[in-house]
């Protein structure tokens, strides 16, 4: 059965809709609870994981650390999404299951004015202040996705459909999503399942290597893993060997290819010494 990936500009509403869809269809719900598992498995704090998902990087953010945390979440999430019949919300999965045809990608939005009014009421702010806050939130949301995945997550073309709760009620959104997922086009096929397996394997390899190689890129195809890392010329052989050793030991990996991207900054720094 298909996967449903929900993204929303309002966390509470997105969560409620996702849980209701999961309940209606009898699917498993995958949400922020996963962070507890990721935190325990990797000895990191759950709050830090949530911050990496919620906050756009600032000047003082340790980017490599943040990328690593997001990599841990992505690997754990994709591992669950290998199973069918899952509704996933709040883990940025819409950014990394793109092109998987059995994943219905839905975004839930509100009219900015309504969001501002709700925020003003909830936090006792003036509507003007709330409006500014909503604008800032949207900007931050956009910046988060652009800096992390080089994509604007508010762009409608990333999704199969965008539903506004401005006029349509929450239950109607649940109904539309539940109906849509039954369409033939969202049924898992051999090709789309394989694509998902490749993504999960690439994420698992990246998770293992990110500690040593923060600027890593991994691609996987049917058990063959291609790893791109930065290195100085003199360390090249040692690093290639290390990658092969770590990645090769992971379940599902049959062959590892390591491509070196020249570390030009490091090279320049070394030659100027």
């Amino acid at each position: 059965m298909p996967l449903i990936i929900v993204s929303a500009d309002d966390f509470k509403q997105g969560d409620e809709i996702s849980q209701k869809v999961a309940g209606t269809l009898g699917y498993r719900y995958l949400g922020r609870d996963l962070l507890h598992y990721v935190a325990t498995e990797n000895q990191v704090s759950e709050e830090e994981l949530a911050r990496a998902l919620d906050e756009a990087p600032g000047l003082l953010t340790r980017r490599a650390r943040r990328q690593r945390l997001l990599g841990l979440i992505e690997a754990a999430c994709l591992n669950v999404l290998l199973d069918d019949s899952v509704v996933c919300f709040g883990l940025a999965a819409h950014m990394y299951v793109r092109a998987v045809s059995h994943a219905l990608k839905v975004r839930i939005i509100n009219e900015p004015e309504q969001r501002a009014e709700a925020l003003a009421e909830a936090e006792g702010l003036s509507v003007d202040k709330a409006r500014k806050q909503v604008m800032r939130q949207t900007k931050d949301e956009r910046r988060w996705s652009e800096e992390t995945y080089n994509l604007d997550q508010t762009d409608a073309s990333l999704y199969d459909m965008v539903i506004s709760l401005g006029t349509l009620e929450l239950d109607k959104a649940v109904e539309i999503i539940s109906d849509t997922v039954g369409y033939r086009k969202f049924q898992p096929m051999t090709y789309s399942r394989k694509l998902m397996q490749d993504k999960a394997l690439a994420a698992a390899v990246r998770r293992e290597l990110m500690g040593q190689f923060p600027e890593i890129r991994v691609e996987a195809n049917d058990g063959t893993v291609v790893v791109f890392i930065q290195s100085l010329k003199k360390d090249q052989r040692k690093k290639q060997e290390l990658v092969r050793q770590i990645a090769g030991g992971l379940p599902g990996v049959r062959h590892v290819e390591v491509h070196i991207i020249r570390d030009l900054v490091g090279q320049a720094a070394q030659s100027s010494r």
Binding site: I109, P112, D155, A156, D160, M161, S164, L168
Partner: protein, 271 residues
């Protein structure tokens, strides 16, 4: 019943969706006909109206107000159609032209650029790069148009109730969703909603008549036929405008009362 506006880019299959929705619901489908009606009613060539609704105003036009007038004519024609209800409008800015009407279901249909390029290549017999550059230019022009006239980006999903991506989902799927959504209670034409659209149509009609008479930079509201015309000019300069309102009040039987408000800011709901 409802009013449905479908915003689309070129070759996004929005027209096909609109026609099928209209057929399924037994509604009238309106797009270019609005321009023809406006063209006949206000004696302006259709080409000028097409340009008005497609190309963003140039710097010169911001002073000559050409586009301002044409847009007022198009809006008057569209709202007049919308009063009759049961309508599917596809084309540019329907959601903005009918802003403030509660029973309008605002839909945007999008498609992947590659699919659009392929469709344009096939239909216009163009090379891939020609088709791509034409589409990108067209998209940029539409974006500029909406931004310059309404300060909104047509690509912004928050302007719509439903955005449907034609890729995995087909035209027929999109039709199903729209028909389903349009059946919701909130899109039914209530007495209040009908009154709103009648008032908007009247306000647009007054604005278009004044634009025809070279009165620009005005805003008009109507509530139960009580029409307010707003101008930022002071009382003395507004006198000329007041003279023009008198015959208008007599000529349009729907007007209950007509009043000029000079030197006041335009209310946000005004057309």
């Amino acid at each position: 019943m409802a009013i449905i506006t479908i915003s689309r880019g070129s070759y996004s299959k929005g027209r096909e969706v609109a026609e099928k929705v209209a057929q399924r619901m037994g509604y009238q489908v309106v797009s270019r006909d609005v321009l023809l009606e406006a063209s006949e009613k206000f004696h302006i060539s259709e080409v000028k109206l097409v340009r008005a609704i497609h190309d963003a105003p140039s710097v010169l036009e911001r002073f000559t107000h050409g586009k301002y007038c044409y847009l007022a004519f198009i809006r008057a024609a569209l709202t007049e159609r919308a009063v009759k209800d049961d309508l599917v409008y596809h084309g540019l800015a329907g959601h903005l032209l009918l802003k403030g009407v509660p029973h309008v279901l605002k839909v945007r249909i999008i498609a992947d650029l590659e699919a659009r390029v392929a469709a344009e290549m096939k239909r216009e017999n163009l090379t891939q790069s020609q088709a791509r550059s034409l589409l990108l230019k067209d998209d940029a022009e539409r974006r500029k148009w909406t931004q310059s006239l309404y300060g909104a980006d047509p690509w912004d999903a928050s302007l719509y109730d439903l955005v449907i991506h034609i890729n995995q989902l087909t035209v027929d799927d999109a039709v199903d969703f729209i028909v389903q959504a349009a059946g919701r209670e909130c899109f039914k034409t209530t007495v209040e909603a009908q009154q709103k659209i009648q008032d908007l149509a009247l306000a647009c009609r007054v604005k278009a008549s004044l634009a025809e008479d070279e009165c620009v930079d005005i805003a008009v509201t109507s509530e139960f036929g009580n029409v307010m015309v707003y101008t930022k000019q002071d009382d003395r300069r507004a006198h000329r405008l007041e003279e023009k309102l008198k015959p208008l009040a007599k000529g349009l039987p729907e007007i209950n009362h007509l009043e000029l408000r000079a030197g006041q800011p335009f209310p946000p709901e005004a057309c």
